[in-house]
């Protein structure tokens, strides 16, 4: 598909006898703000794990930036520009925030240590954690932890940022805070896939939304189309 940054073709992922994803096909255009929603257990995180490479052993094909990445390990995909944040923040606990960012800067963006120090500081500043650069993650609040997840993902210099429930459990003002950051990143040219349960955020942020239910894609379209879609309503609320 022309202009697609990411193409997911017929992904099937089984865990034993359970089919978590059953032939999911979708594409994300370069520069797009793409939303992925669905009820709990519908396969959103499994799909993200397949795209980021955290899970192997699925059928189907994934193409990123014109190259087939189906068989690449996760760290290689990160280097190509697919970077994710985790639903439950997973900081490097023995390191300061600055050092947390040094890892992706060194390993994913392949920057030399001297530039990396300045870049890590710049990223932390831009996301509002500059003052805490030399603290360890243990002392951070929930929202700061989420911001660290984003900052660390940014340090990997993503082309495609996958934000896995970065706003779950945050207050309304904090959600706006994270949304503002994501909007700004998108303006800088980063394509974003947002997985979120907070519909207010998804509807405001996304240009196009895909809906998963029981491992299958049941709808795809603009936020307006999704809101009016009968199948989506059924998946969330039942008949």
């Amino acid at each position: 598909m022309a202009g697609a940054l990411l193409e997911v073709q017929g992904i099937v992922k089984r865990f034993g006898g359970f089919t978590a994803l059953n032939g999911v096909t979708l594409h994300v255009k370069a520069g797009e703000r793409f939303g992925l929603i669905g009820p709990n257990g519908s396969g959103k995180t499994t799909l993200i794990n397949c795209i980021s490479g955290a899970l192997a052993g699925y059928a189907g094909r994934i193409v990123f930036d014109g190259g087939d990445i189906t068989t690449l390990p996760a760290h290689r995909r990160t280097r190509l520009g697919i970077v994710r944040s985790f639903q439950i923040p997973k900081p490097f606990t023995s390191m300061t925030l600055q050092e947390n960012l040094d890892i992706p800067l060194e390993y994913a963006a392949r920057e030399r240590s001297r530039d990396a120090a300045a870049d890590a500081a710049a990223i932390l500043d831009s996301i509002g954690l500059g003052a805490k650069a030399h603290l360890k993650p243990a002392g951070l609040t929930q929202i700061e932890m989420r911001k660290l997840e984003l900052a660390r993902a940014l340090a990997a210099r993503p082309k495609l940022l996958i934000s896995d429930e970065a706003m779950a459990g945050l207050s309304s003002a904090e959600v706006d805070d994270i949304l503002a950051i994501l909007f700004r990143l998108n303006e800088q040219g980063i394509t974003i896939i947002m997985i979120e349960h907070i519909m207010r955020a998804v509807m405001r942020f996304c240009e196009r939304i895909a809906v998963l239910d029981a491992g299958q894609l049941i709808a795809e379209g603009t936020p307006e189309e999704i809101v009016r879609n009968h199948a989506v309503e059924k998946a969330y609320l039942g008949e």
């Binding site: 980021s52 490479g53 955290a54 390990p73 996760a74 760290h75 990160t78 280097r79 970077v83 994710r84 985790f86 997973k90 900081p91 490097f92 606990t93 023995s94 390191m95 050092e99 040094d102 890892i103 992706p104 060194e106 390993y107 994913a108 963006a109 660390r152 340090a155 990997a156």
Partner: protein, 311 residues
């Protein structure tokens, strides 16, 4: 890189001091005991590359140590190869074993990895016990080569172990401060996050298990000439597993200094206890000290110092 040169110089000075110590010809027992302490410096440092830096706790230290020792026994039996060859060969065989357990980390993490390494040690011990050529379960006497380059043979082995200890410590220090060390620290903190941040976790783990295995094998290779009688129960002794873990824990696992401090302190205490109280007191001391540290200073002496300074 600039800080590596001074480290090498310090290392060479330590080796020189070791050789100088031999020329003093003090009580020969000191060399005998010193050898064991230095051997533990190598073992603790090697263990820490995997256990401390990467966070994979290896209970199979005896397997790697004994593979080094039994590679030597095999080569002495078959070709009477010179000591440097024995050390290199012992290291390589254990490095290969390390590479093998590296692939285990694909499926086994945490305590399950530890159990697997312990099982590995038992399996290998059983195999050696049934291999007559290297002495089987009865063991084998090894005759030292005549005429060491200087002093008596124990003094010579002492300087060899000084050199090996320096090599091990310099290697560990280099790894710790390189990009490899930073990547290992990331995967120790969170392997999934590290991989997603571009760290090639499998490759780094294989590197750590291989280097760690190599150095453990190196520590074991001169063992047959040191004890002159090798049998499976002493080569596969559980003491090695316990000490390899206890020494870095006591010193501090996140820095190369930790295992060195731990090995010198605990190793010396054990040697002292062996002479003054009884040889059975060794593990008792380790047990008490380890429990005390886990409770009172979980980050070892280094962590304790850092904490006291921070206040």
């Amino acid at each position: 890189m600039a800080r590596t040169v001074p480290a090498l110089i310090v290392g060479l000075l330590v080796v020189a001091a070791g050789i100088g110590l031999v020329t003093l010809r003090v009580n020969p027992y000191l060399y005998f005991a010193g050898y064991v302490i230095l051997q533990y410096v190598v073992i603790a440092t090697a263990w820490n590359i995997l256990g401390g830096y990467a966070g994979y706790v290896n209970f199979g230290t005896p397997a790697f140590f004994a593979m080094g020792a039994y590679t030597s026994v095999f080569l002495i039996q078959s070709t009477r190869a010179p000591l440097p060859v024995l050390i290199l060969a012992g290291g390589l065989v254990s490095a290969l074993l390390g590479l093998g357990i590296g692939y285990l980390t694909l499926r086994l993490r945490g305590v399950f990895f530890s159990i697997a390494t312990l099982a590995l040690s038992i399996v290998l011990q059983t195999m050696i016990m049934n291999w007559e050529y290297v002495g089987g379960s009865r063991g084998l006497s090894v005759i030292r080569p005549s005429g060491p380059p200087f002093g008596n043979y124990v003094m010579f082995l002492f300087t060899v172990m000084v050199t090996l200890a320096v090599i091990a410590v310099v290697t560990a220090r280099f790894i710790e401060r390189s990009w490899v060390g930073r990547g290992l620290a990331a995967l120790r903190d969170n392997e999934e996050a590290a991989e997603c941040m571009g760290v090639p976790t499998l490759r780094l783990k294989l590197f750590a298990t291989t280097i760690s295995g190599f150095l453990l094998g190196v520590a074991g290779a001169p063992f047959p000439y040191y004890v002159t009688f090798v049998e499976p129960n002493s080569a596969f002794n559980l003491d090695y597993a316990v000490n390899a873990l206890a020494m870095p824990m006591i010193g501090g696992t996140t820095s190369w200094v930790g295992p060195v401090i731990g090995a010198v302190l605990l190793g010396s205490a054990q040697q002292l206890a062996t002479v003054t109280i009884s040889s059975e007191m060794n593990l008792f001391i380790v047990g008490i000290v380890l429990v005390a540290f886990v409770v009172l200073a979980p980050e070892g002496l280094l962590g304790l110092v850092r904490r006291l300074r921070g206040r």
